[in-house]
Symmetry: C2
Subunit: 346 residues, 2 copies
């Protein structure tokens, strides 16, 4: 199992990325890491860390995609960028997955155009998992697509279904459509259209859900437009951070509170861990012919290490192949049904 890591992407690149990759390679015997970026820079970072693990290899990339670059940079002006080379490595089969904390738009375009989508998928979707009292809820798309059409949201529902089955081990995942009221008639023109489409899929579609359901445990997969999903993802992170900061300040306001905080410290540490994106690692971009994981721009070494582990785990489970196989089966069954009914597929 090989994971290509964009060493030049993210707020703390390359130092934290190199450290995270170093840790992942040192720990995981089965996983090899291809660290992609300016080789002289990366080698000097690696020298600081001591003996180079055997399963860590530096791959040179002469260019870097900046945050200001157009998302299409890896396809045009920056074909020698670390993002592009990561995608090339996956395409060539030298790596099974890539991880990047860099320019999200550029990562997604490079993945879609270089690695390519699987049969039956027009738009890859970024999937995020949120904690709830009983487990995890998958929300997709959280930012790969805006201005999506009903057919795309249907693809997201199908990919979310298989993701929840394969990754979260849920036999019949409950699929919800993000809306602003639970009644069937609520929402926009688009959500009403998607509602009818999803009712016809044979998935375990439970109807409209609301923002609160991403954290309640009442649904396993939530389908939404990437604009809405992105606002949800970023605001949820911000609320969690704000609350932790508020609590920290409140706990320092008196010696008694400080003592209480000291005694209860493991509780705070556990809460912090359970609500920290760094622990989850990167978000998978689903629907590709290989693995692509978008890490948080603020990723530290811990986040990168966990992202690499996650990418390796997904690749080992061959999640993208399973999704492809099931998408193809679903499409052929649908086609047979449509043929029998004498209807032309739309």
């Amino acid at each position: 199992m090989h994971v290509a890591v964009d060493a030049m992407g993210g707020d703390h690149a390359p130092r934290e990325v190199v450290l995270g990759a170093y840790q992942a390679a040192s720990e995981a015997g089965e996983t090899s890491v291809l660290l992609v970026g300016d080789s002289s820079l990366l080698e000097s970072e690696l020298r600081r860390l001591g003996r180079m693990p055997e399963n860590l290899e530096v791959v040179h990339a002469a260019q870097v995609v900046d945050m200001e670059d157009s998302p299409t940079a890896p396809l045009r002006k920056k074909k020698q960028s670390s993002i592009r080379i990561c995608a090339d490595l996956v395409k060539a089969g030298r790596a099974q997955a890539m991880v990047s904390a860099g320019n999200t738009g550029a990562v997604m375009i490079a993945a879609k155009m270089v690695i390519g989508t699987i049969e039956g998928v027009d738009r890859p979707a970024l999937a995020a998992e949120f904690p709830n009292p009983r487990g995890r809820t998958v929300v997709l798309d959280v930012g790969a697509n805006v201005d999506t059409k009903a057919g795309h949201l249907r693809e997201f529902a199908v990919m979310g279904h298989f993701y929840a089955q394969e990754v979260n081990g849920i036999h019949s995942p409950r699929i919800g459509l993000m809306s602003i009221g639970e009644e069937d008639s609520k929402g926009t023109d688009l959500t009403r259209e998607v509602f009818d489409v999803l009712k016809g899929t044979g998935l375990n579609f439970i109807g409209n859900v609301e923002g609160r359901d991403a954290f309640s445990g009442s649904v396993d997969v939530i389908v939404c437009d990437g604009f809405v999903g992105n606002v949800l993802l970023k605001s949820a992170e911000a609320v969690a951070d704000l609350m932790k900061n508020m609590l920290r300040r409140e706990l320092q306001k008196s010696p008694l509170r400080q003592l209480g905080a000291l005694l209860a410290r493991p509780a705070f540490e556990s809460l912090a861990r359970r609500t920290d994106y760094r622990e989850y690692g990167a978000a998978p971009l689903l629907g590709l012919q290989g693995g692509c994981f978008v890490a948080h721009g603020r990723s530290t070494a811990v986040a990168i290490r966990n992202s690499i582990r996650r990418a390796a785990g997904f690749s080992e489970a061959e999640l993208h192949l399973k999704i492809q196989e099931k998408m193809v089966r679903l499409h052929s069954e649908e086609q047979r049904f449509l043929d029998q009914a004498g209807i032309q597929a739309g």
Copy 2:
């Protein structure tokens, strides 16, 4: 100052609504409460509470709008409903504002059609305030409108500007446009169009913001479509609730943690208060010729009491008249500018 309260709306109606109204009337000498609903039911609830405050009056309503009713019910089949009668009281000048925890869609339609919008406003917007480390950020719209056009978002920006000035005392509120990246070019076709419109308003428009900015203190007003705002509002509440529940469970896992929690209890209470929608009371529907406050469906007596206080405060400050005056001035200045330039207003 008179506030009409829909005693039949919300998960805990009428009991908690009656109690909240009773408390608000008992405390606030200047504010009278008109409690609207089934009079025999309300009078029996009030008898349980003891002596009736002089500034509390029951107004009979023979019908109730259910959660399953169409939002247009107060205009058609349920003209004798408590929601409709609340709006009638504001329209007639017998109350300066109304408060309801009932069917949000019905409240908004009744308010728009019965109370009416102010000059220059086509779509009223529901405004929510979120805490940030330095103060509060106003987000609008959080659910009154879906499928909004650029011109509507411009109205929201102007109303948000005056709200932040009048209510939060900010001289030159920073206005942000909700998007999925901070660069000017990011977002949907709609947000790119609104971006250009807002640049031309003379407001302190700081450009695109992201979900996290609702909680960071980097912006005072965020403008968005009601669908996105509603997802933001409901998910933020859910994250806060989830974190408080997680923390509660973590703190009970050992005797030492329990002792720590006991010592630090005031810190948790303060956090809970600062992140509880009940403390803020209802969200104002801006752009009307009178006050209308949409309370949370799960409102308890505390939330209703705070909502009534808030409604009374806004009405006292004549916020809606101030917004109207400023909207009219803004429009006439714009018209003069357009006339001078020989351009027809769009």
